[in-house]
Amino acid sequence: MAELHIIGQIVGATGFPQSSLFCKWGVHTGGAWRLLSGLKEGQTQVDVPQTGEVAYWSHPIDLHYATKGLHGWPKLHFQVWHQDSFGRCQLYGYGYCHVPSSPGHHRIHCVTWRPLGSWQEQLAQMFVGGGPQLRSPDLVYSGADRYRLHTEAMGTVELELGIVMRHFDKYGVES
């Protein structure tokens, strides 16, 4: 069995309409992967930056996987939410990225998008917030029914991930 360590942070987010953001995140893998230690999902704190518009979460990630195959390589998926001063939450973006497959330190910019409603819904969203959300969140990291969606671009989630691989070379894997 080969082993993969993912050690790093969800640093923060940039490029969203407002700050005061938090992020729900998770890791999705195929059937050959087994999580040996660490939490594979979570939710960051809400950051309201004092200066600038970059929200910093510094959310630690420390995952240890064992695998029997390359299929279903881990994917990190995100939902970025905005929380206003009254505690109400509004979805700001969905995004996913593959966990890097080469050992070492990686800086990742994960782009995000948000579903676009009808023009009536967009008008309402301008005044009262809210907006359409995905019924099933796995659409974020799968391509299956994407053609049904109309979406708009949102900001970027910044990650720093360190990857340690063990015994992959014994199976002839080059990375």
């Binding site: 050690i7 790093g8 004092q50 360190g162 340690v164």
Partner: protein, 212 residues
Amino acid sequence: AAMATSNPSVFLLTVNGQIEGANFPEYDNLYCKYCFVYGHDWAPTSGLEEGITQITCKGSQSSHKLIWNFPLETTFKSTNPSGWPQLVLSVYGPDVFGNDVVRGYGATHIPFTPGQHTRTVPMFVPEPTWRLQKFTSWLMGRRPEYTDPKVVAQGEGREVTRVRSQGFVTVSFHIITKDMKKLGYDTGPSSPANTAAAPSGWSAEEQPINMQ
């Protein structure tokens, strides 16, 4: 410890570095406490696990730089990369009435590729939720604080907290590892002498994240 082992069961991580300084636009006269947080499979073998820097204030020339130049020298041993050590930082300074209040918490993983690395760590404080609490805490000099700063190194339980990021601390590391390769771990290429990464975050306008 003997340098030559043919069948190691543990690997070593040596951290030589310094807490260079900080960038806090709104605050001055700050000191920093640090400690290491690590998993069950890890143990420090030499060096200090925690410490406190001097109190520093912004220089007269570059008015936004706070310098500590505080040494970090620690070695850890482990059987497993899980629980890789993190450096936890807490910065404190005086408020208007002279009480010591927290100005920021932050944490960063110790880099694991051998070589030189610089990290700019964003620092945040827990935010009181209502305006009245904000006012009374300002008056009494008692901001919300974490009872144990080590919680900053964990991901659980963060869903209910609201924080404000208000500064950065710059730390540089020189990393040496021993026997990771022998145990089968590939940590990637050693870092080049000049870390390309982020600007050091010295000026109040610069932010470590490149915005395209």
